[in-house]
Amino acid sequence: MTFRDLLPLLPLMLPALTAVAILLLLAFHRSHRLTAWLAAGGLAAALLLIPFACEGAPRRFGALLVVDGCALFYTGIIMAAALAVAAFSYGYLARRRGHVEEFYVLLLLATTGGAVLTASSHFATFFLGLEVLTVALYTLIAYERGAFGIEAGVKYLVLAAVSTAALLFGVALIYAELGTMEFSKIASLLDAGAPVSLLMPAGVALILVGVGFKLALTPFHLWAPDVYQGAPAPTAAFLSTVSKGAVFAAAMRYLVPLDLPSHRSLWLAVAALAVVSMLAGNLLALRQGNIRRVLAYSSIAHMGYLAAMLLTGSPLATAAAMFYLLAYFVTSLGAWGVIAALSEKEGDAERIEDYRGLAGRHPWLAGALTLMLLSLAGMPLTAGFISKFFLLTAGVEGRLWAPMAALLLGSAIGIFYYVRIIAMLFAPQEDAPPVRATHWAAGAAIGALVLLLIALGVYPAPVLAIIQSLIAASS
């Protein structure tokens, strides 16, 4: 095995190596700044390696991992998102007491788990990636150890354990049925018409429980608002983007070869999850007064939109899902970045009322948040519009009438609560609290996200071309 052979795997390994290196460093010398720089460096290096890794792709590593264009695309946006989260964390953590350096170690480990998920082609790696991601998240959620933080961490721990148990049981059922845990073999066995009993759909349904929990699809969504509210803002940003994106990528890799349209009952199950999530997410956010919970519900709805793309499995739907995920990453990270920048201490900048008159105090942050919310609502000339538009195109092409109707209905409801927050941002306020400067790293990350948001909305062609070439190369 030469270096060239390992190159495609390097983006997945670098964050893990960095985590170990930081752990060693922390044993002898504690420095928040150095740790943050190291973590950012490791993530940036992984990000920069991705174009080179693409040259060696697609490449299989045994039965466990397959590093192809799609995996590298998802890994790339995961690394970029983790980098943004690290940038938000620095200013956020600098205001906290106690040891903050371990946050970066956990962040890197969770990122590694996410990256492994995107490249997994076997239930072993799927489970391994999921667990690395989840175990690191438990601590990241409870990192602040306030009352809400601990509550959020425990809730996530218990419920994640429950859903992971369901997932494992599903894997076991499928293994019992087909004798393999490789995604491609499962699909080819089914294609070849292997006789299957009811254990097979039951197994897939149980796996959907695990996936649905991570994506916070209704009815597995109840943890999301509580956890988003209690977790530190950078963790919430990570939770709503990297964690979901990685699991979705893995679900895509597993479920698309399965050819859901030919399994009517499973198709209906996924469609029901998607539709119910779209409606429930948007309805729950409607009159919510806490912006973190609004974002939690909004992400439930967005994952519902995205889950609809699992239903066709056409290359167009795959491309639409990839673009949607990218746009969602940008938007969600931007919104959480603003919240992180405004959170002085636990419980700050939570109620929508806290954002009254923000445009006067922090015109830049308010402008960025406005753009992010408009994009979440799907306004034209933002990334959110183009991505939703592609989703609709793919959905209509795949004749997903009910999910697409729910998407439109959900989007219509969504505009209300997004605009409500925007109106609050620009409402007049008498006694404005003093303005505190945002740390430059967070500011730069938010600025870059804003630029990306507009670039994707106005000029999506190059990104689309990349996505389409990746899909063409993978299939």
Binding site: V154, K155, V158, L159, V162, S163, A166, L198, P201, A202, V204, A205, L206, L208, V209, G212, F213, P219, F220, L222, W223, P225, D226, R264, S265, L266, L268, A269, A272, L273, A280, L283, L284, L286, R287, I386, F389, T393, I413, F416, V458, Y459, P460, A461
Partner: protein
């Protein structure tokens, strides 16, 4: 150079962005440099691009550059594409060069204003949007520019937003033009659905194939386009916003409400002329509207006491000439008149601004007078502008363009004698009101003392525009415009102009007392009020549309549509409350939900 076409609109946009983001923290000289400099650079780029176009082999065809395709669905692919041909080159050159001169003038004119950077920010946004409109090769992009200029016009009319009247004027302009914009948007939708494209070239190619001449679709599309053009260009019956739009700073009036934006409608029709040729009815309507507008607005201009309002009515009237030319199919004559009008009308506005600057913001002509010696620079600039506006024979640019329009109206198969007569009477009225302004402001007895002095940044644009107002007529226009004119027509036009000037001298200088007595007589006063008030359109609209509408909305506040919309809101709210109760915060309940969901999913997967 053609590759750098995108620079022309991008430079003002860059200036807009820089000023919008950092303008409030910049020192004023830097604001002025960025504000005017980006437009100046854009003008240089436009000159270079036009030279390249003229020198290239395909000058007739024009250059098209597709920057990128926005989205592409089922063959419908609106693209961000720019097109430079003879038409858009003329527009681009005028917009950038006149725009630069006006912005240069503004650096001094606006010097004392607290909204200095906001002013340049909006002006740059306007120039960028206008250039997008002009250069767009796709109707959707053109519409984006169309809305962009509407927005910046709104922002700039209400620039001094602390006075309520200004805000009201801005709102009026926005709403009235919106009527036209809606028609335009409907036209776009019609074209997009019927022809399957919004690329201007493809529309021009497909329209004759899909629609026969005079067919209903073609008439509908052209009529909707005309509706958009009427709103933007302040033509009957949507002309009422322009006089009020003078609430903005004078450079705004000069650039947006005289030289460029109000002629966007002219440009649109000239751009889409292939479509209009399919709809002779609409062409006829265009000509009639143009003729009617030019007469009515000319008479209104004759009775104004506010210098800027007089100029505004004059603009409406001159744009009416352009519509008249478009209506008879004289596309290049219309664009030629657009160009000379841009020169002399912005010159008149800037000269008027230079006068009011020295009179502490005075706009009332009857409180000026005798300023000839005190303000020689402004005087000569204004006289040259007025001469060009009155089409003083042989020496002014305005003569050549107006003469060309009249000649075409007479000779074109679509023209008619009575349209020509209307144009000729209009020319007489034009000369009359143009020199009325000259005599009222600069001759007679002095009423006010001037103060301060105008600097080079005010005087240079005046000189440059004066030179263009004289020399602009000798610029040979594209393709065979210089045909042999019928000598009698030329003589008639010249005579109308000279007669008008002489009449103005007689009525407003020599025998001013007599005129005032005449205007003071009961019949005269009534007529005067009627004309000065814009023919009662405002009152009529207020009585016929605004008040009934307000009453209707008030009456229907609790009407049949409400229970429905409120019902939707209430249902959503109720569902929200219902669902909210599932989020209890209790871990065991959450785990129960997961268990229930699992059972449901397995049930669906196994039993369905």
């Amino acid at each position: 150079m053609a590759e750098l076409l995108w620079l022309i609109p991008a430079l003002p946009f860059a200036g807009f962005l820089a000023l919008a983001l950092l303008g409030s923290r910049m020192p004023r000289p830097l604001v002025a440099t960025i504000g005017a400099g980006t437009v100046g650079l854009s003008a240089l780029a436009a000159i270079a691009a036009s030279l390249a176009l003229a020198g290239s082999a395909g000058a007739e065809e024009g250059i098209t550059r597709t920057l990128w395709t926005w989205i592409s669905v089922g063959g419908f692919a609106p693209a961000v594409a720019l097109r430079l041909d003879a038409l858009s080159a003329v527009m681009t050159l005028v917009v950038t060069i006149v725009g630069f001169l006006i912005l240069l003038y503004s650096t001094e004119f606006m010097a004392g204003d607290e909204g200095y950077s906001r002013f340049f920010c909006c002006m740059d946004l306007f120039v960028g949007a206008m250039l997008t409109l002009v250069l767009a090769d796709d109707l959707l992009l053109l519409y984006l520019g169309w809305e962009g200029v509407g927005l910046s016009s709104y922002l700039l009319i209400g620039f001094w937003y602390k006075a309520e009247a200004n805000v009201r004027a801005a709102r009026k302009a926005f709403i009235v033009t919106r009527v036209g914009d809606t028609a335009f948007a409907l036209g776009l939708a019609l074209i997009a659905t019927q022809l399957g494209t919004l690329r201007i070239q493809e529309v021009a190619e497909r329209a004759p194939l899909f629609w026969g001449a005079g067919s209903g679709m073609a008439v509908a599309a052209a009529a909707l386009m005309l509706g958009g053009a009427l709103g933007k260009s302040a033509q009957l019956p949507l002309q009422t916003w322009l006089p009020d739009a003078m609430a903005g700073p004078t450079p705004v009036s000069a650039l947006i409400h005289a030289a460029t934006m109000v002629t966007a409608g002219v440009y649109l029709i000239a751009r889409m002329h292939a479509l209009f040729l399919l709809a002779p009815v609409v062409m006829g309507a265009t000509a009639v509207i143009g003729a009617a507008t030019l007469l009515m607005a000319g008479l209104s201009a004759l009775t104004q006491s506010d210098l800027k309002r007089a100029l505004a009515y004059s603009t409406i009237s001159q744009v009416g000439y352009m519509f008249l030319a478009l209506g008879v199919g004289a596309w290049s004559a219309a664009i030629f008149h657009f160009m000379t009008h841009a020169f002399f009308k912005s010159l008149l506005f800037l000269a008027a601004g230079a006068v009011s600057m020295r009179l502490r913001g005075e706009h009332d002509m009857f409180r000026m007078g005798g300023l000839r010696r005190a303000l020689p620079g402004a005087f000569w600039a204004f006289v040259i502008g007025a001469a060009s506006l009155s089409a003083l024979p042989m020496v002014t640019a305005g003569f050549y363009s107006k003469e060309m329009i009249l000649e075409r109206v007479w000779s074109s198969p679509r023209g008619a004698g009575w349209l020509w007569a209307a144009g000729l009477i209009g020319a007489l009225i034009t000369a009359l009101y143009a020199f009325r302004m000259v005599f009222l402001v600069f001759f007679g007895e002095k009423r006010q003392e001037t103060e301060g002095r105008s600097g080079a940044r005010v005087m240079f644009p005046l000189a440059a525009l004066a030179a263009l107002s004289i020399g602009g007529g000798f610029v040979p226009m594209s393709r065979g415009t210089w045909e042999a004119h019928a000598l009698p027509l030329t003589l008639a036009a010249s005579l109308a102009s000279l007669l008008g000037i002489a009449g103005a001298w007689f009525l407003f200088h020599r025998r001013r007392g007599m005129t005032e007595r005449l205007a003071g007589s009961p019949a005269g006063a009534l007529l005067r009020r009627f004309w000065a008030g814009g023919w009662g359109f405002d009152q009529a609209y207020d009585a016929l549309l605004v008040r009934p509408f307000v009453r209707l909305t008030r009456a229907s506040r609790e009407e049949f549509a409400d229970p429905y919309s409120k019902g939707v809101a209430r249902t959503a709210g109720a569902l929200h409350h219902l669902l909210s109760r599932t989020v209890t915060g209790q871990l065991r309940w959450y785990a129960m939900a997961i268990a229930a969901g699992t059972i449901l999913l397995i049930g669906m997967a196994v039993f369905l």
